[in-house]
């Protein structure tokens, strides 16, 4: 009696479809990923149990670390409009090229008088420049005050929305520095703002 022969099947699977899906997902993740913004100074943010996510648009951050303040605002259009406002304020004429450079700038950390020189540098040279932060004090010459004011105006012009402001502070930062920032915000009737924190779970 002859033995029944089971036909041998090939063990190789067609991988084409799987490969397609994998690369599709990969492309999606790469494109949706936001490049991490390089802060001029490192801030070790404190943790809290708040689970409110940060808004993506109409949003401005004040980075506070080592006694310095850095200002940043989301959106290229709003940035350009903000700089135009600052130019009018301080009587500095910014060229369209400089406006374009500024739109790509993540954070402002130089005095307004030096901003023209700073924008003339290449992005690589900028990272080597020591940034001393935006000037904050309680006088009328408070640059941070005007940055925030102009950014808020710009947001109303561009998107017709109220700009949301958040403070990203370093855990070790002493309170007087923070108090100065809060006073600057309150001076223009911004009484509600966010504090950027990382997530922690409650120890019950």
């Amino acid at each position: 009696m002859p033995r029944v022969k089971v036909p041998r099947k090939s063990t190789a699977i067609d991988m084409t479809a799987m490969c397609d899906v994998a690369f599709l997902l990969l492309t999606f993740f790469i494109l949706s990923a936001k490049p991490k913004t390089q802060d001029p100074v490192h801030a070790d943010i404190p943790a809290s149990t708040s689970i409110q996510a940060l808004p993506e648009n109409d949003f401005s951050t004040i980075l506070v670390a080592q006694g310095k303040a850095f200002f940043s605002v989301e959106g290229a259009e709003i940035r350009m409009e903000t700089l135009k406002g600052m130019g009018d304020q301080y009587k500095i004429a910014f060229t369209p090229e400089e406006l374009k450079q500024f739109a790509a700038l993540e954070t402002v950390g130089v005095p307004i008088a030096n901003l023209k020189q700073f924008l003339a540098l290449s992005p690589k040279e900028r990272s080597s420049v020591q940034q001393n932060g935006v000037q904050v004090d309680t006088t009328d010459n408070n640059e941070l005050y005007w940055w925030i004011k102009n950014a808020r105006k710009a947001d109303i012009v561009v998107h017709n929305k109220e700009l949301r402001i958040a403070i990203k502070g370093d855990s070790k930062e002493e309170y007087p520095t923070i108090a100065k920032i809060i006073a600057t915000l309150q001076k223009q009737k911004v009484n509600k703002f966010g504090l950027i924190t990382s997530l922690k779970t409650v120890t019950k």
């Binding site: 991988m15 404190p46 502070g169 930062e173 002493e174 509600k192 504090l195 950027i196 924190t197 120890t203």
Partner: protein, 179 residues
């Protein structure tokens, strides 16, 4: 006979020379492996590190003080933020506190327990929430401020405010060596 001659070799008769057909299939296993590895990498690096925001509402500063209600001192707790991540709290007025000022740390056995106990006490006595005044001294850090606000969020206290510290209270902190 009936099948096609795919073997190129062995010239026979006047048959044409055929080149050898190789399979067009490529082994994609390694490529898929690589793609999934990269996907995993991107997922882990993008979505894990999302910072959160905590809302902070400050009392209006230079408004004309028209409709300000007097606050009963029995319902008020003052928390002074000192150095070394320590806090000092008391009920009532700084000149004649209703409870002796106590130094405490953060966490569930520290200020959170006090906030819960005192909050319930005030609620039972007056039927209203306890009012918490936070007074950060110049020796406290941003971490202290965020942590105390977070503790108040945890115990679900809505009536709180950040207020400037007075010299009397700085003296209290000095006395207790946390300034």
């Amino acid at each position: 006979m009936a099948e096609l001659d795919t073997s190129g070799g062995g010239k026979k008769g006047g048959g044409k020379v055929r080149s050898k057909k190789s399979s067009t299939r490529v082994d994609l296993t390694a490529m898929v492996d690589l793609a999934f590895l990269l996907i995993t990498f991107f997922i882990l690096t993008t979505t894990l590190q999302k910072p959160k925001a905590m809302d902070l509402v400050m009392p209006d500063k230079d408004e004309k003080t028209k409709n300000q209600l007097p606050v009963p001192e029995t319902r008020t707790m003052t928390i002074l933020l000192g150095s070394k991540n320590k806090v000092e709290w008391y009920m009532g007025m700084p000149s004649k506190p209703l409870t002796a000022p106590t130094v405490e740390g953060f966490g569930k056995t520290g200020i959170r327990k006090t906030l819960l106990e005192k909050g319930q006490e005030v609620l039972a006595r007056s039927g209203k929430d306890m009012i918490v005044l936070i007074k950060p001294s110049s020796k406290s850090t941003y971490y202290d401020m965020v942590t105390i606000m977070d503790e108040l969020n945890i115990v679900n206290n809505q009536s709180r405010a950040i207020v400037d510290i007075s010299p009397v209270e700085i003296d209290l902190l000095k006395r207790d060596n946390i300034y």
